[in-house]
Amino acid sequence: MFDDFFIRAIFAGVGIAIVSGPLGCLVIWRRLSYFGDTLSHSALLGVTLAYSLSINIAFSVFVISTVVALLLVSLQKRTKLAGDSLLGLLAHSTLAIGLVLIGFLSYIRFDLMGLLFGDILAVTTADIALVWIGGGIILIILYFIWKSLFSATVNYDLSAAEGMRPEISNFIFTLLLAGVIALSIKMIGALLITGLLLIPAAIARNISSSPRQMILITILSGILSVVVGLFASLELNTSSGPSIIVVALMLFIISLLPLEIRGQLQKR
Protein backbone atom coordinates (compact mmCIF):
# COMPACT_ATOMS: atom_id res chain seq x y z
CA MET A 1 0.00 0.00 0.00
CA PHE A 2 2.88 2.33 0.81
CA ASP A 3 4.64 1.40 -2.43
CA ASP A 4 3.32 4.45 -4.15
CA PHE A 5 5.28 7.57 -3.19
CA PHE A 6 2.11 9.62 -3.36
CA ILE A 7 0.25 7.45 -0.86
CA ARG A 8 3.27 7.71 1.43
CA ALA A 9 3.26 11.47 1.13
CA ILE A 10 -0.46 11.66 1.92
CA PHE A 11 -0.06 9.50 5.02
CA ALA A 12 2.91 11.48 6.30
CA GLY A 13 1.27 14.81 5.47
CA VAL A 14 -2.00 14.00 7.23
CA GLY A 15 -0.02 12.91 10.28
CA ILE A 16 1.85 16.20 10.29
CA ALA A 17 -1.37 18.18 9.89
CA ILE A 18 -2.90 16.46 12.92
CA VAL A 19 0.10 17.14 15.16
CA SER A 20 0.49 20.72 13.94
CA GLY A 21 -3.14 21.51 14.79
CA PRO A 22 -2.95 22.07 18.54
CA LEU A 23 0.64 23.33 18.38
CA GLY A 24 -0.28 25.81 15.65
CA CYS A 25 -3.14 27.16 17.78
CA LEU A 26 -0.75 27.65 20.68
CA VAL A 27 1.73 29.40 18.39
CA ILE A 28 -0.99 31.83 17.33
CA TRP A 29 -2.36 32.37 20.84
CA ARG A 30 1.08 32.99 22.25
CA ARG A 31 2.16 35.14 19.30
CA LEU A 32 5.08 32.89 18.62
CA SER A 33 5.03 32.84 14.84
CA TYR A 34 8.49 34.39 14.63
CA PHE A 35 9.74 31.89 17.14
CA GLY A 36 8.47 29.08 14.92
CA ASP A 37 10.17 30.70 11.96
CA THR A 38 13.47 30.86 13.78
CA LEU A 39 13.28 27.23 14.78
CA SER A 40 12.48 26.13 11.26
CA HIS A 41 15.25 28.21 9.70
CA SER A 42 17.69 26.64 12.08
CA ALA A 43 16.34 23.29 10.95
CA LEU A 44 18.36 23.64 7.76
CA LEU A 45 21.50 23.68 9.84
CA GLY A 46 20.23 20.53 11.49
CA VAL A 47 19.82 18.85 8.11
CA THR A 48 23.34 19.72 6.95
CA LEU A 49 24.77 18.48 10.24
CA ALA A 50 22.82 15.27 9.82
CA TYR A 51 24.37 14.75 6.39
CA SER A 52 27.90 15.56 7.47
CA LEU A 53 27.77 13.38 10.58
CA SER A 54 25.51 10.84 8.86
CA ILE A 55 22.93 10.77 11.62
CA ASN A 56 19.13 10.76 11.44
CA ILE A 57 17.80 14.02 9.98
CA ALA A 58 14.77 14.37 12.26
CA PHE A 59 16.92 13.77 15.33
CA SER A 60 19.54 16.29 14.26
CA VAL A 61 16.92 18.93 13.42
CA PHE A 62 15.27 18.36 16.79
CA VAL A 63 18.57 18.81 18.62
CA ILE A 64 19.53 21.97 16.71
CA SER A 65 16.07 23.53 17.14
CA THR A 66 16.21 22.84 20.86
CA VAL A 67 19.68 24.34 21.15
CA VAL A 68 18.52 27.45 19.29
CA ALA A 69 15.50 27.76 21.58
CA LEU A 70 17.70 27.52 24.68
CA LEU A 71 20.16 29.98 23.14
CA LEU A 72 17.32 32.43 22.69
CA VAL A 73 16.34 32.19 26.35
CA SER A 74 19.90 32.82 27.52
CA LEU A 75 20.39 35.68 25.03
CA GLN A 76 17.21 37.32 26.27
CA LYS A 77 18.68 37.40 29.75
CA ARG A 78 22.02 38.81 28.59
CA THR A 79 21.11 41.58 26.19
CA LYS A 80 18.68 44.44 26.09
CA LEU A 81 17.61 43.59 22.52
CA ALA A 82 13.94 42.90 21.99
CA GLY A 83 12.75 39.36 21.41
CA ASP A 84 12.02 39.88 17.72
CA SER A 85 15.53 41.20 17.03
CA LEU A 86 17.08 38.19 18.74
CA LEU A 87 14.79 35.87 16.80
CA GLY A 88 15.82 37.49 13.52
CA LEU A 89 19.46 37.26 14.49
CA LEU A 90 19.19 33.56 15.31
CA ALA A 91 16.99 32.71 12.33
CA HIS A 92 19.23 34.22 9.71
CA SER A 93 22.54 33.29 11.24
CA THR A 94 21.57 29.64 11.60
CA LEU A 95 20.17 29.63 8.08
CA ALA A 96 23.41 31.21 6.82
CA ILE A 97 25.60 28.76 8.73
CA GLY A 98 23.57 25.92 7.32
CA LEU A 99 24.00 27.18 3.75
CA VAL A 100 27.74 27.79 4.26
CA LEU A 101 28.13 24.26 5.57
CA ILE A 102 26.38 22.95 2.47
CA GLY A 103 29.11 24.69 0.43
CA PHE A 104 31.80 22.81 2.37
CA LEU A 105 30.09 19.50 1.92
CA SER A 106 30.56 19.54 -1.84
CA TYR A 107 31.08 15.77 -1.90
CA ILE A 108 27.44 15.26 -0.95
CA ARG A 109 24.84 16.06 -3.57
CA PHE A 110 22.22 18.26 -1.91
CA ASP A 111 18.76 18.89 -3.15
CA LEU A 112 18.65 22.45 -1.84
CA MET A 113 15.19 23.13 -3.23
CA GLY A 114 13.96 19.99 -1.52
CA LEU A 115 15.43 21.08 1.81
CA LEU A 116 13.98 24.54 1.65
CA PHE A 117 10.59 23.75 0.16
CA GLY A 118 9.94 20.07 0.78
CA ASP A 119 9.92 17.08 -1.50
CA ILE A 120 7.21 14.45 -1.50
CA LEU A 121 9.38 12.05 -3.45
CA ALA A 122 11.71 11.87 -0.48
CA VAL A 123 9.12 10.50 1.93
CA THR A 124 9.96 6.90 2.85
CA THR A 125 7.98 4.30 4.78
CA ALA A 126 10.30 4.94 7.71
CA ASP A 127 9.35 8.62 7.56
CA ILE A 128 5.67 7.73 7.86
CA ALA A 129 6.42 5.62 10.91
CA LEU A 130 8.44 8.49 12.35
CA VAL A 131 5.65 11.01 11.76
CA TRP A 132 2.94 8.84 13.29
CA ILE A 133 4.94 7.53 16.24
CA GLY A 134 6.72 10.82 16.91
CA GLY A 135 3.51 12.74 16.36
CA GLY A 136 1.64 10.38 18.66
CA ILE A 137 4.19 10.95 21.40
CA ILE A 138 3.97 14.73 20.94
CA LEU A 139 0.17 14.62 21.19
CA ILE A 140 0.23 12.43 24.30
CA ILE A 141 2.67 14.75 26.06
CA LEU A 142 0.60 17.72 24.95
CA TYR A 143 -2.52 16.10 26.40
CA PHE A 144 -0.89 15.79 29.81
CA ILE A 145 0.47 19.34 29.98
CA TRP A 146 -2.50 20.95 28.23
CA LYS A 147 -4.20 22.51 31.26
CA SER A 148 -0.98 24.06 32.45
CA LEU A 149 0.05 25.24 28.99
CA PHE A 150 -3.35 26.64 28.17
CA SER A 151 -3.79 28.48 31.46
CA ALA A 152 -0.30 29.95 31.13
CA THR A 153 -1.23 31.11 27.63
CA VAL A 154 -4.18 32.99 29.06
CA ASN A 155 -2.33 34.39 32.06
CA TYR A 156 1.04 33.27 33.34
CA ASP A 157 0.71 34.66 36.87
CA LEU A 158 -2.68 33.14 37.37
CA SER A 159 -1.45 29.78 36.18
CA ALA A 160 1.61 29.97 38.44
CA ALA A 161 -0.40 31.07 41.46
CA GLU A 162 -2.87 28.24 41.07
CA GLY A 163 -0.22 25.55 41.02
CA MET A 164 -0.10 24.77 37.31
CA ARG A 165 3.71 24.91 37.11
CA PRO A 166 3.76 26.86 33.83
CA GLU A 167 7.54 27.15 33.73
CA ILE A 168 7.81 23.40 33.18
CA SER A 169 5.07 23.16 30.57
CA ASN A 170 6.49 26.16 28.70
CA PHE A 171 9.82 24.41 28.42
CA ILE A 172 8.20 21.17 27.25
CA PHE A 173 6.17 23.15 24.72
CA THR A 174 9.39 24.45 23.16
CA LEU A 175 10.66 20.89 22.82
CA LEU A 176 7.39 19.80 21.23
CA LEU A 177 7.59 22.64 18.73
CA ALA A 178 11.13 21.62 17.85
CA GLY A 179 9.82 18.08 17.51
CA VAL A 180 7.04 18.90 15.08
CA ILE A 181 9.45 20.91 12.95
CA ALA A 182 11.83 17.95 12.88
CA LEU A 183 8.98 15.70 11.75
CA SER A 184 7.79 17.93 8.97
CA ILE A 185 10.99 19.33 7.43
CA LYS A 186 11.25 16.70 4.69
CA MET A 187 7.72 17.21 3.58
CA ILE A 188 7.22 20.95 3.89
CA GLY A 189 10.78 22.28 3.81
CA ALA A 190 12.64 24.54 6.20
CA LEU A 191 11.23 27.81 4.91
CA LEU A 192 7.58 26.90 4.99
CA ILE A 193 7.04 24.79 8.11
CA THR A 194 5.70 27.70 10.13
CA GLY A 195 3.18 28.25 7.35
CA LEU A 196 1.63 24.87 8.05
CA LEU A 197 1.62 25.65 11.77
CA LEU A 198 0.12 29.10 11.37
CA ILE A 199 -2.24 29.27 8.43
CA PRO A 200 -4.64 26.45 9.40
CA ALA A 201 -4.86 27.95 12.90
CA ALA A 202 -5.52 31.37 11.37
CA ILE A 203 -8.31 29.86 9.25
CA ALA A 204 -9.79 28.28 12.37
CA ARG A 205 -9.63 31.52 14.34
CA ASN A 206 -11.82 33.19 11.76
CA ILE A 207 -14.65 30.73 12.16
CA SER A 208 -14.47 29.25 15.65
CA SER A 209 -15.79 30.39 18.99
CA SER A 210 -14.12 28.14 21.55
CA PRO A 211 -10.57 26.82 22.00
CA ARG A 212 -11.56 23.22 21.36
CA GLN A 213 -13.46 24.11 18.23
CA MET A 214 -10.48 26.13 17.00
CA ILE A 215 -8.13 23.16 17.42
CA LEU A 216 -10.50 20.80 15.58
CA ILE A 217 -10.97 23.20 12.68
CA THR A 218 -7.21 23.77 12.57
CA ILE A 219 -6.60 20.04 12.22
CA LEU A 220 -9.30 19.66 9.55
CA SER A 221 -8.09 22.58 7.47
CA GLY A 222 -4.51 21.34 7.87
CA ILE A 223 -5.50 17.93 6.54
CA LEU A 224 -7.44 19.49 3.69
CA SER A 225 -4.49 21.72 2.76
CA VAL A 226 -2.09 18.78 2.79
CA VAL A 227 -4.27 16.47 0.71
CA VAL A 228 -5.31 19.04 -1.88
CA GLY A 229 -1.81 20.55 -1.92
CA LEU A 230 -0.17 17.19 -2.57
CA PHE A 231 -2.60 16.41 -5.40
CA ALA A 232 -1.81 19.78 -6.92
CA SER A 233 1.87 19.18 -6.46
CA LEU A 234 1.57 15.89 -8.32
CA GLU A 235 -0.58 17.26 -11.13
CA LEU A 236 1.29 20.51 -11.67
CA ASN A 237 4.75 19.18 -10.86
CA THR A 238 5.34 21.85 -8.19
CA SER A 239 7.22 21.53 -4.87
CA SER A 240 5.06 19.95 -2.21
CA GLY A 241 5.62 22.54 0.55
CA PRO A 242 4.58 25.62 -1.44
CA SER A 243 1.62 23.78 -2.96
CA ILE A 244 0.29 22.87 0.49
CA ILE A 245 0.78 26.42 1.76
CA VAL A 246 -0.95 27.94 -1.26
CA VAL A 247 -3.97 25.70 -0.71
CA ALA A 248 -3.98 26.72 2.96
CA LEU A 249 -3.90 30.35 1.91
CA MET A 250 -6.91 29.79 -0.36
CA LEU A 251 -8.79 28.23 2.55
CA PHE A 252 -7.85 31.22 4.66
CA ILE A 253 -9.31 33.60 2.08
CA ILE A 254 -12.48 31.52 1.98
CA SER A 255 -12.67 31.63 5.79
CA LEU A 256 -12.65 35.42 5.59
CA LEU A 257 -15.61 35.53 3.21
CA PRO A 258 -18.45 35.12 5.71
CA LEU A 259 -17.04 38.03 7.73
CA GLU A 260 -16.87 40.20 4.62
CA ILE A 261 -20.42 39.36 3.67
CA ARG A 262 -21.57 40.02 7.22
CA GLY A 263 -19.79 43.36 7.17
CA GLN A 264 -21.46 44.37 3.92
CA LEU A 265 -24.88 43.41 5.17
CA GLN A 266 -24.37 45.55 8.24
CA LYS A 267 -23.43 48.53 6.07
CA ARG A 268 -26.77 48.28 4.34
Binding site: K147, S151, R205, S208, P211, M214
Partner: protein, 247 residues
Protein backbone atom coordinates in the same frame (compact mmCIF):
# COMPACT_ATOMS: atom_id res chain seq x y z
CA UNK B 1 6.78 22.88 62.08
CA UNK B 2 3.49 24.63 61.62
CA UNK B 3 1.97 24.73 65.08
CA UNK B 4 -0.77 27.12 64.13
CA UNK B 5 -3.24 25.10 62.06
CA UNK B 6 -4.96 28.17 60.74
CA UNK B 7 -1.80 29.67 59.32
CA UNK B 8 -1.74 29.77 55.53
CA UNK B 9 1.07 32.14 54.67
CA UNK B 10 3.79 33.76 56.68
CA UNK B 11 6.19 36.28 55.16
CA UNK B 12 9.11 37.19 57.34
CA UNK B 13 11.21 40.24 56.37
CA UNK B 14 10.61 39.61 52.68
CA UNK B 15 11.54 41.88 49.84
CA UNK B 16 11.89 41.94 46.06
CA UNK B 17 14.79 43.55 44.29
CA UNK B 18 14.70 44.56 40.64
CA UNK B 19 17.90 45.81 38.97
CA UNK B 20 19.48 46.62 42.35
CA UNK B 21 16.46 48.59 43.52
CA UNK B 22 14.14 47.31 46.19
CA UNK B 23 10.49 47.33 45.10
CA UNK B 24 9.40 46.27 48.56
CA UNK B 25 11.50 45.51 51.58
CA UNK B 26 11.01 44.26 55.10
CA UNK B 27 7.56 42.79 54.54
CA UNK B 28 6.24 40.59 57.30
CA UNK B 29 2.69 39.39 57.37
CA UNK B 30 0.52 36.43 58.23
CA UNK B 31 -2.62 35.19 56.56
CA UNK B 32 -4.86 32.87 58.55
CA UNK B 33 -7.94 30.86 57.66
CA UNK B 34 -11.18 32.77 57.88
CA UNK B 35 -9.49 36.17 58.09
CA UNK B 36 -9.21 39.02 55.63
CA UNK B 37 -5.90 40.83 55.39
CA UNK B 38 -5.94 43.99 53.35
CA UNK B 39 -3.07 45.78 51.67
CA UNK B 40 -3.52 49.47 51.09
CA UNK B 41 -1.10 52.04 49.79
CA UNK B 42 -0.44 54.43 46.90
CA UNK B 43 0.41 53.33 43.35
CA UNK B 44 3.78 51.68 43.08
CA UNK B 45 3.93 50.96 46.78
CA UNK B 46 4.46 47.24 46.18
CA UNK B 47 0.99 45.88 46.90
CA UNK B 48 0.88 43.57 43.90
CA UNK B 49 4.49 42.51 44.42
CA UNK B 50 3.70 41.58 48.00
CA UNK B 51 0.66 39.59 46.90
CA UNK B 52 2.77 37.76 44.33
CA UNK B 53 5.27 36.79 47.02
CA UNK B 54 2.46 35.35 49.10
CA UNK B 55 1.30 33.40 46.03
CA UNK B 56 4.82 32.10 45.38
CA UNK B 57 4.83 33.68 41.90
CA UNK B 58 7.76 35.87 42.92
CA UNK B 59 10.66 34.70 44.99
CA UNK B 60 11.69 36.85 47.90
CA UNK B 61 15.25 38.15 47.71
CA UNK B 62 15.54 38.22 51.47
CA UNK B 63 13.76 36.78 54.48
CA UNK B 64 11.58 33.70 54.31
CA UNK B 65 8.20 32.70 52.94
CA UNK B 66 6.15 29.90 54.42
CA UNK B 67 3.12 28.83 52.44
CA UNK B 68 0.88 26.08 53.80
CA UNK B 69 -2.00 26.67 51.43
CA UNK B 70 -3.26 23.62 49.58
CA UNK B 71 -5.27 25.45 46.99
CA UNK B 72 -4.77 29.06 46.01
CA UNK B 73 -6.96 31.15 43.77
CA UNK B 74 -5.96 34.47 42.31
CA UNK B 75 -7.75 37.43 40.84
CA UNK B 76 -4.95 39.37 39.13
CA UNK B 77 -5.09 43.11 38.81
CA UNK B 78 -4.61 43.25 35.10
CA UNK B 79 -5.40 40.50 32.71
CA UNK B 80 -5.78 40.89 29.01
CA UNK B 81 -7.02 38.01 26.95
CA UNK B 82 -5.48 38.00 23.53
CA UNK B 83 -8.15 38.38 20.84
CA UNK B 84 -6.41 35.59 18.93
CA UNK B 85 -7.95 33.16 21.39
CA UNK B 86 -11.66 32.38 21.16
CA UNK B 87 -12.21 32.00 24.89
CA UNK B 88 -15.70 31.81 26.33
CA UNK B 89 -16.61 32.49 29.93
CA UNK B 90 -17.31 28.79 30.49
CA UNK B 91 -13.84 27.85 29.18
CA UNK B 92 -12.28 30.50 31.37
CA UNK B 93 -14.08 29.21 34.47
CA UNK B 94 -12.34 25.88 34.01
CA UNK B 95 -8.95 27.33 33.24
CA UNK B 96 -7.11 25.63 36.07
CA UNK B 97 -9.75 23.21 37.35
CA UNK B 98 -12.43 20.79 36.25
CA UNK B 99 -15.78 21.98 37.51
CA UNK B 100 -19.08 20.73 36.15
CA UNK B 101 -21.53 22.98 34.40
CA UNK B 102 -24.05 23.20 37.24
CA UNK B 103 -21.42 24.43 39.66
CA UNK B 104 -20.14 26.94 37.14
CA UNK B 105 -23.65 28.33 36.77
CA UNK B 106 -23.99 28.55 40.57
CA UNK B 107 -20.72 30.41 40.92
CA UNK B 108 -21.47 32.78 38.06
CA UNK B 109 -24.81 33.50 39.73
CA UNK B 110 -22.98 34.64 42.86
CA UNK B 111 -21.47 37.52 40.94
CA UNK B 112 -24.51 38.03 38.73
CA UNK B 113 -23.05 37.04 35.38
CA UNK B 114 -24.58 33.61 34.71
CA UNK B 115 -26.22 34.96 31.55
CA UNK B 116 -22.77 35.56 30.04
CA UNK B 117 -21.66 31.94 30.27
CA UNK B 118 -21.32 31.38 26.53
CA UNK B 119 -20.09 34.83 25.64
CA UNK B 120 -16.57 35.33 24.43
CA UNK B 121 -14.38 36.90 27.08
CA UNK B 122 -13.20 39.78 24.96
CA UNK B 123 -16.78 40.88 24.31
CA UNK B 124 -17.34 41.50 28.03
CA UNK B 125 -17.14 44.93 29.57
CA UNK B 126 -14.49 45.64 32.19
CA UNK B 127 -16.91 45.25 35.08
CA UNK B 128 -18.45 42.07 33.70
CA UNK B 129 -15.04 40.53 33.23
CA UNK B 130 -14.10 41.46 36.78
CA UNK B 131 -17.20 39.62 38.02
CA UNK B 132 -16.20 36.57 35.98
CA UNK B 133 -12.70 36.69 37.46
CA UNK B 134 -14.10 36.72 40.99
CA UNK B 135 -16.56 33.92 40.21
CA UNK B 136 -13.76 31.82 38.78
CA UNK B 137 -11.60 32.25 41.86
CA UNK B 138 -14.50 31.37 44.17
CA UNK B 139 -15.39 28.34 42.05
CA UNK B 140 -12.00 26.86 42.82
CA UNK B 141 -12.99 26.68 46.51
CA UNK B 142 -9.56 27.81 47.61
CA UNK B 143 -8.17 27.92 51.11
CA UNK B 144 -6.27 31.06 50.16
CA UNK B 145 -7.84 33.71 47.96
CA UNK B 146 -5.78 36.62 46.70
CA UNK B 147 -7.74 39.50 45.22
CA UNK B 148 -5.87 42.33 43.55
CA UNK B 149 -8.29 45.24 43.23
CA UNK B 150 -11.14 42.87 42.45
CA UNK B 151 -13.91 45.41 41.88
CA UNK B 152 -12.19 47.78 39.47
CA UNK B 153 -14.58 48.93 36.79
CA UNK B 154 -17.61 47.52 38.61
CA UNK B 155 -20.59 49.84 39.05
CA UNK B 156 -21.25 51.34 42.47
CA UNK B 157 -24.02 48.99 43.60
CA UNK B 158 -22.14 46.02 42.25
CA UNK B 159 -19.07 47.05 44.19
CA UNK B 160 -20.90 46.89 47.51
CA UNK B 161 -22.51 43.56 46.61
CA UNK B 162 -19.18 42.06 45.58
CA UNK B 163 -17.46 43.16 48.76
CA UNK B 164 -20.31 41.60 50.72
CA UNK B 165 -19.81 38.45 48.71
CA UNK B 166 -16.09 38.39 49.46
CA UNK B 167 -16.79 38.71 53.15
CA UNK B 168 -19.39 35.92 52.92
CA UNK B 169 -17.07 33.62 50.98
CA UNK B 170 -14.40 34.11 53.60
CA UNK B 171 -16.73 32.74 56.25
CA UNK B 172 -18.34 30.09 54.08
CA UNK B 173 -15.13 28.53 52.76
CA UNK B 174 -13.19 29.43 55.89
CA UNK B 175 -10.46 30.63 53.60
CA UNK B 176 -7.82 33.24 54.16
CA UNK B 177 -8.12 36.31 51.97
CA UNK B 178 -5.43 38.72 50.94
CA UNK B 179 -7.12 41.74 49.45
CA UNK B 180 -5.68 44.73 47.69
CA UNK B 181 -8.20 47.49 47.66
CA UNK B 182 -8.55 51.22 47.29
CA UNK B 183 -11.97 51.15 48.85
CA UNK B 184 -11.09 52.35 52.32
CA UNK B 185 -14.67 52.05 53.52
CA UNK B 186 -14.74 48.34 52.93
CA UNK B 187 -11.22 47.95 54.24
CA UNK B 188 -12.13 49.60 57.49
CA UNK B 189 -15.48 47.92 57.98
CA UNK B 190 -14.87 44.34 56.93
CA UNK B 191 -11.24 43.38 57.21
CA UNK B 192 -9.46 41.87 60.16
CA UNK B 193 -5.99 43.23 59.56
CA UNK B 194 -4.82 46.18 57.52
CA UNK B 195 -1.33 46.65 56.18
CA UNK B 196 -0.35 50.04 54.93
CA UNK B 197 2.39 49.79 52.32
CA UNK B 198 4.74 52.27 50.77
CA UNK B 199 7.75 50.22 49.68
CA UNK B 200 7.83 48.96 53.24
CA UNK B 201 5.19 48.43 55.89
CA UNK B 202 4.23 51.90 57.12
CA UNK B 203 1.91 50.61 59.75
CA UNK B 204 -0.31 47.64 60.29
CA UNK B 205 -2.93 46.46 62.69
CA UNK B 206 -6.66 46.30 63.12
CA UNK B 207 -8.67 48.85 61.12
CA UNK B 208 -9.48 50.71 64.33
CA UNK B 209 -5.90 51.11 65.38
CA UNK B 210 -4.69 52.04 61.94
CA UNK B 211 -6.84 55.09 61.35
CA UNK B 212 -5.25 56.72 64.37
CA UNK B 213 -1.72 55.98 63.20
CA UNK B 214 0.20 59.07 62.12
CA UNK B 215 1.96 57.39 59.18
CA UNK B 216 -1.40 56.29 57.85
CA UNK B 217 -2.69 59.84 58.04
CA UNK B 218 0.45 61.05 56.31
CA UNK B 219 0.06 58.51 53.51
CA UNK B 220 -3.59 59.11 52.77
CA UNK B 221 -3.87 62.76 53.66
CA UNK B 222 -5.87 64.19 56.48
CA UNK B 223 -9.06 64.43 54.51
CA UNK B 224 -9.32 60.72 53.72
CA UNK B 225 -8.07 59.70 57.10
CA UNK B 226 -10.69 61.87 58.73
CA UNK B 227 -13.44 60.42 56.56
CA UNK B 228 -12.53 57.00 57.69
CA UNK B 229 -12.27 57.77 61.34
CA UNK B 230 -15.72 59.18 60.96
CA UNK B 231 -16.82 56.00 59.28
CA UNK B 232 -15.43 53.94 62.13
CA UNK B 233 -17.21 56.23 64.50
CA UNK B 234 -20.51 55.39 62.86
CA UNK B 235 -20.34 51.90 64.21
CA UNK B 236 -20.89 52.93 67.84
CA UNK B 237 -24.19 54.65 67.15
CA UNK B 238 -26.44 55.61 64.31
CA UNK B 239 -27.74 58.92 63.12
CA UNK B 240 -31.21 60.22 62.54
CA UNK B 241 -31.99 61.92 59.27
CA UNK B 242 -31.26 65.34 60.70
CA UNK B 243 -27.86 64.16 61.93
CA UNK B 244 -28.63 63.87 65.59
CA UNK B 245 -27.68 60.70 67.40
CA UNK B 246 -30.31 58.01 67.63
CA UNK B 247 -30.80 56.57 71.05
Amino acid sequence: MNKNNDLLVRLKDCGVQKSSKWIVKGISLEINKGKIVTLIGPNGSGKTTTAKMALKILKSDEGSIENYSKKMAYVPQKISIDWTMPLRVIDFMNLTSNINKEEIIEDLKLTGVQHLMYNEIHNLSGGEFQRVLIARAIAKKPDLLVLDEPVQGVDFNGEIALYDLIKKICTKLNCGILLISHDLHFVMSATDHVICLNGHICCSGSPNSIVKNSSYIELFGEHNAATLSLYQHEHDHSHQTDGSVKN
